[in-house]
């Protein structure tokens, strides 16, 4: 991913409304997990990061589920990180 796009994504992950997401998403990005993803997977991550905080947090804690298998797979990867 191009530097500016990555840094914009990073800002949108390290400055969330919920502390829980700040920690979880920062860990994923700064821990180097993101770089290992395919372009498609990176795109799925971007889509998740665009979600509203509570919706994303409900997915990450298993309180809610998502049909889209790309996104569901990405949720699983973030949870494991």
């Amino acid at each position: 991913m191009e530097r500016a796009n990555y840094e914009r994504l990073r800002w949108r992950c390290i400055r969330r409304a919920l502390l829980e997401l700040d920690i979880t998403l920062t860990r994923f990005l700064d821990g180097g997990e993101f770089e290992k993803l395919s372009d498609d997977q990176q795109q799925a991550f971007v889509e998740l990061a665009d979600m509203e905080d509570y919706d994303l947090w409900d997915l990450l804690t298993g309180k809610a589920e998502i049909d889209d298998s790309r996104l569901a797979h990405m949720v699983a990867l973030i949870r494991k990180s």
């Binding site: 400055r15 919920l18 920062t26 509570y54």
Partner: protein
């Protein structure tokens, strides 16, 4: 270098609850209004508020604003200004009903009224028994509030500058405030926002502490900007803590865990609450539990490599009960402590939650500072509301659900006052020649410095110092050392170095600029806390204990006064608490006990 100038009637920094509420007043009055935010408005930290907003609507049982006022004065340990508290409690119904009209989906009673539930410290009939005063929208009150107010602003043509960071306040020689300098994150471009009215609504600064429930965005930018412009900060020693945040992460663990039988233990696995509260033990009140935890840690009985946390043990409880009664706690343990709480205890520590102090304001939302012998002289053109401001309604301790009320009431009144001042003819004043020099110098120093301090390490040093020396329970010797230490950290914070020099989306630069704000708040907190030699509300000192002469360690003869920290020379002065409400009798001084 010529810097673009954007001209507005009003510029508001912050698009959380307070900023959005102010903006509605200004835009609906037909004024050209800009709102700047580091993030999309509905990602502001107000989203995290779940509990509700206080208003004595009396929908579920009898209630009255004078009862709410009494609770707030008492909660503040009599440090709140009674004129401001009357103003807020009286206005509560109006601002909550307005919010309802903006489309806020409040929970309802069967007959269609706003449903109200009880919340700690809110009582009926001057402290008699709990009352149902909190209005909520499921467990998403703050989130729903922001959505309703954002939509209202869109309709009113408020202009949003999203992912813009305000950097410095612009003041002229006479002290008038003329706007801010700001950076567009996408381009790194610096722009001047030239305004007739400037409103700060930048939220709290809880990230000065190592353990904080606040999201990463709470870096106290408004306080940093005000301090750099020579405006004193009020009552910064007062921070509310929650007893059980996950050590290292800050994520809140509900008090229900102790309610279900959770036990606090120290490094030798001792159930230490038996020594501090033989009867209530782990179920003692928040402040008693927090103090006991802090004492265990200070005396070397903490756990882990740094001996800086204690353990919350639920391994003796039935796993099925935990999963049923405490949903979420297992996941929080796994995600944020790396601990399976069914098998191992959770590391916990008293955690910073809310900032009571801030930029000094009158209840009209106008910023005030000492000038020519008047301690409350209005700073022309400058207004503030929400957690960054100190009106002061929370005094030494905030009641739950009163901060969402604060941001509605004082966000609105800051907006109204600005409208009034602008309609009275306040014009754009000429920008000083050196208008952006300081901002540009800060940025260029960051870009060019070699061999400077690392941002991450400096932030960590600050957070550790604040946690260890000015935490939930304070010790005279530790505070003294803390002042020296934080001044050392300040030296590093003035010499930050960043590796990335790009213009577009340079998050390293943004974080360094935030750090320069955090350190102003940390310093103000430490020095103000060291200076106040009594215990009051959330500021509790080991050397100001509960005695017959000074119940709870509070000393009204000497300390019934607001602290003003002057960032110019790190000095402290004081101003009187306003004990005179607007229309009713004062709430007389009393020992605070529940």
């Amino acid at each position: 270098m010529s810097i673009p100038v954007l001209k507005f009637d009003a510029v508001i920094v912050g698009a959380g609850g307070a900023g959005l509420r102010s903006a509605i007043q200004l835009s609906e009055a037909g004024l050209k209004t800009a709102v700047l935010s580091k993030v999309f408005p509905t990602r502001s930290h107000t989203v995290a508020a779940q509990g509700g907003v206080a208003a004595s609507l009396g929908n579920s049982e009898e209630d009255h604003w004078t009862w709410h006022m009494y609770d707030t004065v008492k909660g503040s340990d009599w440090l709140g200004d009674q004129d401001a508290i009357e103003f807020m409690c009286k206005k509560a119904n109006e601002v909550v009903v307005e919010l309802e009209h903006y489309g806020m989906p409040f929970d309802r009673t069967d007959d269609g009224k706003i449903y109200q539930r009880p919340f700690g410290g809110h009582m009926s009939n001057f402290g008699e028994k709990p009352v149902r005063r909190s209005c909520a929208a499921a467990d998403r009150t703050g989130h729903a509030m922001l959505h309703a107010m954002y939509q209202r602003n869109v309709k009113a043509n408020t202009q949003f500058f999203v992912e813009w960071m305000a950097l410095d306040l612009i003041r002229d020689e006479e002290g008038h405030v003329l706007g801010v300098t700001a950076m567009e994150m996408e381009t790194g471009q610096i722009v001047i926002f030239h305004a007739r009215a400037t409103i700060f609504a930048t939220g709290g600064a809880g990230r000065i502490f190592y353990s904080s429930t606040n999201a990463f965005i709470n870096t106290g930018d408004g306080l940093g900007m005000a301090a750099r412009a020579g405006i004193p900060l009020e009552d910064m020693e007062f921070w509310q803590f929650h007893p059980t945040g996950v050590a290292g992460a800050g994520v809140l663990i509900t008090e229900g865990v102790r309610g279900e039988g959770g036990i606090l233990r120290n490094s030798s696995k001792e159930r230490f609450m038996e020594r501090y509260a033989p009867n209530a033990k782990d179920l003692a009140s928040r402040d008693v539990v927090s103090r006991a935890m802090a004492t265990e840690i200070k005396e070397g009985r903490g756990c882990g490599v740094n001996k800086d946390y204690v353990l919350l043990d639920i391994t003796h409880l039935d796993p099925a009960t935990i999963m049923k009664r405490l949903p979420g706690i297992h996941e929080i343990g796994l995600q944020f402590a790396g601990v399976d709480c069914l098998k191992e205890p959770l590391p916990v520590v008293p955690t910073c939650h809310y900032q009571m102090g801030g930029i000094p304001t009158h209840y009209s939302g106008r910023v005030v500072a000492p000038k020519n012998g008047d301690v409350n002289s209005v700073v022309p053109g400058f207004y503030a509301g929400g957690e960054c401001a100190c009106a002061s309604v929370h005094g030494a301790n905030r009641l739950g659900t009163n901060s969402l009320l604060d941001l509605l009431v004082f966000g609105k009144s800051a907006g109204d006052s600005a409208v009034e001042d602008l309609k009275a003819g306040r014009a754009h004043r000429e920008l000083p020649k050196d208008v952006a020099d300081k901002t540009l110098a800060r940025i260029s120093a960051l870009d060019n410095r070699k061999g400077g301090a690392n941002v991450h390490e400096t932030r960590l040093a600050m957070q550790r110092t604040m946690q260890d020396h000015a935490g939930v329970f304070r010790f005279g010797d530790m505070l003294k050392q803390g002042v020296e230490k934080i001044l050392e950290v300040e030296k590093a914070a003035r010499q930050l170095e960043i590796k990335d020099k790009s213009m577009a989306w340079n998050t390293a630069r943004t974080e360094a600029l935030e750090m320069e704000n955090l350190i102003e708040v940390a310093k103000a907190t430490m020095i103000s806390a060291e200076a106040r030699k009594e215990s009051r509300g959330a500021h509790v000192r080991d050397d100001a204990p509960d005695t017959a002469e000074f119940p709870n360690g509070r000393n009204d003869k000497e300390w019934l006064k607001h602290t003003l920290f002057s960032p110019v020379d790190n000095s402290i002065s004081y101003k009187p608490v306003n004990m005179q409400p607007l229309t009713v009798e004062a709430v007389a001084l009393k020992t605070r006990s529940y």
